[in-house]
Amino acid sequence: MATLAPPLQKNELAKTSNLKRPRRYAHRMYPHWFLLPGAAIYTVLFIAPTFASFYFAFTRWTLFDVQFIGFDNFVTFFTDPQLSKGFTNTLIYGVLTSGLKVVLGLLLGVLLTSNILARGYLRAVVFFPVLVSTVGVGITFQALMDPFDGAINRTLAIFGIEGPGWLTDPTLVLYSIIAVDVWKGVGLAALIYMAGLVAIPRDYYEAARVDGAGAWDNFRHITLPLVRPATTTVVILSLIGGLRSFELIWAMTGGGPGFSSDVVASVIYKQYAAGFYGLSTAGNVVLFVLVSAIILPLFLWLNRKQTDL
């Protein structure tokens, strides 16, 4: 974005006006009430419900009344195997999708910024799934991954391999959905890496070449450290998305078979739809704590490392 900026004119006039700009000027020309309409919507529909969730999570809440019951909802959440399964699945889902998007996104980014054939076509094809509706993608892969009629297993059958029940085998289903999530999202990761990669000055590679560095040295000692901001963005974005993921799972399996592909977000929706509002909100609080506990330290750590460079 910074490259789009018009160059700052550092002439004399600007300097004097910078020095003399009074506080009152800022008060008058950039009034605080500009913040109010947005802040009102944000407070009422986002901040207030978030705070309210910390109360309602401790209640038995139905259409008719609200009753304080302490930690019961959380106890249910972590002792009922149907619900606690969602918790571990969320962790697996978030970590795996994020890790795979970093690795594959970086690989694709390097490939698509290199001098490869049909680069424009490849970029377009890899990125397009990002813009397609998640539910549409989910339904399409549900058909492709059908254990008997699906195109994937039929193709495997041609080679004499009996394909597994991608979405019907309880031990496999979560990983199948993770694969589709990566398929859909890796284009965004690659795009972010591409922006980071083209910002690395060519001179570094020139200098390294003079010093006799090979391709691997270049990658390891120049590319990898210098795309760090892109890596931070990809890790944080895909972790946030992965831990909160709902739509793809809902479209592909609805959390099934049984509860084997449930995540916290789908549990929240199921309890909401079933009218267990307190339990659903407890799920929300669990997700809130989980996301904050992972993202905040990671964010601080990744940014600290960045300034060390």
């Binding site: 600007a14 397009f128 799934p129 996301v291």
Partner: protein
């Protein structure tokens, strides 16, 4: 040198083949099914259709459940236009003031904006607040929810961009007698045009493709948005695959058009955090 060129061609061809299998085949699959009759599409294979019934399928998809898809397209359009225009104007105002006027509240405000990107929304309490305000299950209410969820991203985009616009323009306008509102809408807003287009395109695609929030906050057939129409053709007992894939194809057209016409802006918006500085 020759070996280099050959290697380049080999990786290129491999990449094209792999990408075709991984990325084109699923979309080709969707398209092929839309040409087929119900029983043929139910076989879920790549066989070519014996009868080409694409236009019949499109007509049927539109007619289903009393033209529900037409209603849904109207609803989704209203929702997208309403939420994105409110979101963009309000976020631009906020980004403008935050970048131009440092104050001791900026730390807290930045924290709240980051929270908006990270914190998963509390669903039932939000529905409860909306019910209290009488905006639950209304398109306007859902639009405001989309505004609340999308604003954080837009503010960060605008704030970063405003800080690159020289202040001298503001000062010149002030000397010419502009007030804060005129200054923002006449000077600030036009200068932000590029980044406003980016915000509009990225958020329109996001709102149009949103499935979860309409599911939570806008239940009921009358208010269906396009993403929810996909469930018209899928039930526990039977799925009408040809119509389902036709529906997927139809609701993918608007984002596809956005991508074709605004590719550059989408890329600019989505990569804004990737480069330091």
């Amino acid at each position: 040198m020759k070996r280099h060129v050959a290697a380049r061609h080999v990786t290129g061809i491999i990449a094209i083949l792999v990408s075709a299998i991984l990325f084109l085949v699923p979309f080709g699959f969707i398209v092929v099914q839309t040409f087929k009759t119900g029983p043929e599409a139910a076989r879920l294979d790549f066989g070519l259709p014996t009868q080409f019934v694409f236009f019949d399928n499109v007509a049927k998809v539109f007619e289903t459940r009393d033209f529900m898809l037409v209603t849904a397209f109207i609803n989704s359009t209203i929702l997208t236009v309403l939420s994105v225009s409110i979101m963009v104007v309000l976020s631009a105002m906020i980004g403008w003031v935050l970048a131009r006027r440092p104050s001791r509240w900026n730390g807290l405000i930045s924290f709240l904006i980051l929270a908006g990107l990270i914190v998963p929304p509390a669903i039932v309490p939000t529905a409860w607040v909306m019910q209290r305000l009488g905006i639950f299950n209304t398109i306007g209410g859902l639009a405001l929810v989309e505004v609340a969820y999308g604003m954080a991203f837009c503010i960060l985009l605008f704030r970063a961009f405003v800080s690159t616009i020289p202040r001298e323009l503001d000062e010149a306008a002030t000397i010419d007698g502009a007030g804060p509102i005129r200054l923002f809408f006449r000077i600030g807003f036009p200068l932000l045009r590029g980044v406003i287009v980016t915000a509009i395109v990225v958020q329109s695609v996001a709102v149009f493709n949103d499935f979860a929030n309409p599911l939570y906050f806008l239940p009921g057939e009358r208010n269906a948005t396009v993403q929810l129409t996909l469930y018209n053709f899928q039930s526990q007992f039977q799925t009408t695959w040809n119509l389902l894939f036709t529906n997927i194809l139809l609701i993918t057209i608007p984002p596809l058009l956005m991508y074709i016409f605004f590719n550059r802006q989408i890329v600019a918006g989505l990569t804004s955090g990737a480069v330091k500085g």
